[in-house]
Amino acid sequence: MKVAVCVKEVPDPAAPRKIDASTLRLDRSGEGALNPWDLPAVEAALRLVEEHGGEVVCVSVAPERAAATQRKALAMGADRAVLVADEAIAGSDLVATSRVLAEALRREGADLVLFGQQGADSDGAVLWAAVADRLRLPLMSQAAGLEVSGGTARVKRQTEHGYEVIEAPLPCVVAVSDAINEPRYPSLKGIMGAKKKPQETLSLADLGLDAGGVGEAGSGTAVYALGPPPPRGDSLVVEDDGQAAERILEFLVERKLA
């Protein structure tokens, strides 16, 4: 079984986020990290391949330096990585990004495509839907459980009201939630061996894509302004004068939350 995992490079989540005032884009010049939401997807892929055999390939759309970030997934145990890096992609919105990612995935022809829930930087939580739509593949999201047998993927889908158990034939797209597993730490051997694993970098031309469909040119959305969220009007600040815990408890009990 071939499992493709879409992994994103995000700015180091521990560092404060900065917006570049001239482009209104997130400043990505600092250290990059593998999107924490994607680690459960990598883990799920590794477990499936450990169970069924096959290979795990990581796919990213990002600047070239993200090859180093992808090596974390390789260190965890993924077999190889594909990176689509092209200057023309800079400034792509979600829809444009989905165009590139879908094309890279089409080229792989995996049995199963896994996504994380969302990017820790832009938090769209929807790219998987756009990609599945382009590939005309069934999509199951919020997967807190995932099993594959006999050409079918079965997902335990987390909802506000409980779990749904749903199935789709392979190939399909699954976006996992972080409740699905506890991602492994890369082992020392994995870390030392990651650089020896195959990594491919593709341009738009390699995918037969036209620069007009990506970047700012290919994005239907434009960002005009960014600002901090307005303060919440009805918030209550509890100063700790020794009785704070009791007051918070009263507040919760009043609203039947505790």
Partner: protein
């Protein structure tokens, strides 16, 4: 000249940092308070190959270099010294003698369990009457009918008495002017291990006094040629110093980060205390000296990895980071004020854990002695 760490070493640092933050930090205070050996943590580290970092893969280790090893120890100690020393003593003192001086047969017998972290090993050099003067070993071993019969005592031996300890390598007098290294497996009749010693710091680490009375081990438990014990333990200590230096660095880094965070959030006179020059200068000094210490430690590791002589660099790194960690943790407690003196504030544990770094594996005075000797002083 290239001062960038290799990318895989950066990834290793991040990985150990994540693991230490997620798995060790939440339990460190409790392990310390209850003087409880961190079995679960050792097994988590073993799974990742961190209990045998510099031991080749064919013997069950991870086959990485000394730099990787130093970084792992640094990051563990940044969170918890007891865990740091458990790994450092197991690797540099417990496992290394067998890897460096053991025969192929001995390596294959003992290393796979040790380098994989399934079992632990200890090194027994210090005796009640032989500390800095380790050559004054009194423990004696005599060969009788194909067995070594050992009598004597060892003091302050790390990792000797855990439930998963496999063995201790001891130095013993095997002739009038002759010291040799012998492996004694736990459970050997005549080998007695004291209850855990109670200490100022490193409270979750296992420290024991050992006694040998008519303890018999097979003749084949001798490591390397008979009479090579002195040269062998000096070589072991040279390497071990890099790991203790990495602990000094990690402890200083951890203490500095806590002081930094506290100074930003603690307000007095209507301002964060980090805005007072007296506090800012302390933090600036810490950051500067830690950076200097880091270069010494990594350079010692780098020299060793290139097969160059590293003993002087290792002694300098050990001496410098030992004293560095004292200055930093002392000021870090100062920055915490009274809260820094409380058990529930991690910095107080760091303060207690620090002192041994100026004593173990050669006191500051002994490091200066070693350095002076390398300088060619009469």
């Amino acid at each position: 000249m290239n001062l960038d760490l290799p990318e895989q070493h950066e990834l290793l640092r991040r990985t150990v940092r994540e693991l230490a933050g997620e798995r060790i930090a939440p339990v460190a205070e409790e392990l310390d308070r209850e003087h409880r050996f961190p079995y679960e943590i050792v097994s988590a580290l073993a799974e990742l190959g961190l209990m045998g970092v510099p031991i080749p893969e064919e013997y069950g280790g991870a086959g990485a270099d000394t730099l990787a090893y130093a970084i792992a120890i640094e990051e563990l100690t940044r969170i918890d010294s007891s865990v740091g020393v458990t790994v450092a003593a197991h690797t540099s003192l417990g496992t290394m003698p067998i890897y460096l001086f053991g025969s192929e047969e001995q390596r294959h017998r003992w290393l796979p369990d040790l380098a994989s972290g399934r079992r632990l090993a200890a090194f027994g050099l210090t005796e009640p009457e032989a500390g800095s003067d380790a050559g004054a070993t009194r423990t004696a071993a005599t060969l009788e009918n194909g067995e070594w019969v050992i009598d004597g005592a060892k003091m302050f031996i790390t990792n000797a008495g855990t439930e998963i300890t496999a063995l201790v390598t001891i130095t013993a007098r095997t002739g009038p002017d002759e010291i040799s290294n012998l492996v004694v497996e736990n459970g050997t009749p005549g080998y007695e291990i004291s209850p855990p010693l109670s200490k100022l710091g490193w409270r979750a680490s296992d420290t024991r006094a050992l006694t040998f009375s008519g303890c018999r081990v097979p003749e084949g438990n001798l490591l390397g040629p008979r009479g090579n014990g002195l040269r062998q333990f000096l070589e072991i200590l040279d390497g071990g110093r890099i790991s203790i230096a990495a602990m000094g660095l990690g402890l200083a880094q951890g203490a500095y980060e806590q002081a930094m965070a506290y100074a930003r959030e603690r307000h007095q006179f209507g301002r964060p205390i980090a805005s007072f020059q007296a506090i800012r200068f302390k933090l600036a000094d810490m950051a500067t000296e830690i950076e200097a210490g880091r270069q010494l430690v990594y350079r010692a590791a780098w020299l060793k990895d290139r097969g160059r002589s590293f003993a002087l660099a290792a002694a300098m790194a050990k001496l410098y980071t030992g004293e560095l960690s004292r200055r930093v943790v002392n000021e870090a407690v100062q920055i915490h004020g009274g809260y820094g003196y409380m058990d529930e504030t991690p910095i107080s544990r760091f303060y207690r854990d620090q002192k041994i770094l100026e004593i173990g594996e050669g006191t500051n005075e002994i490091q200066r002695l070693v350095i002076a000797r390398h300088l060619g002083l009469p």
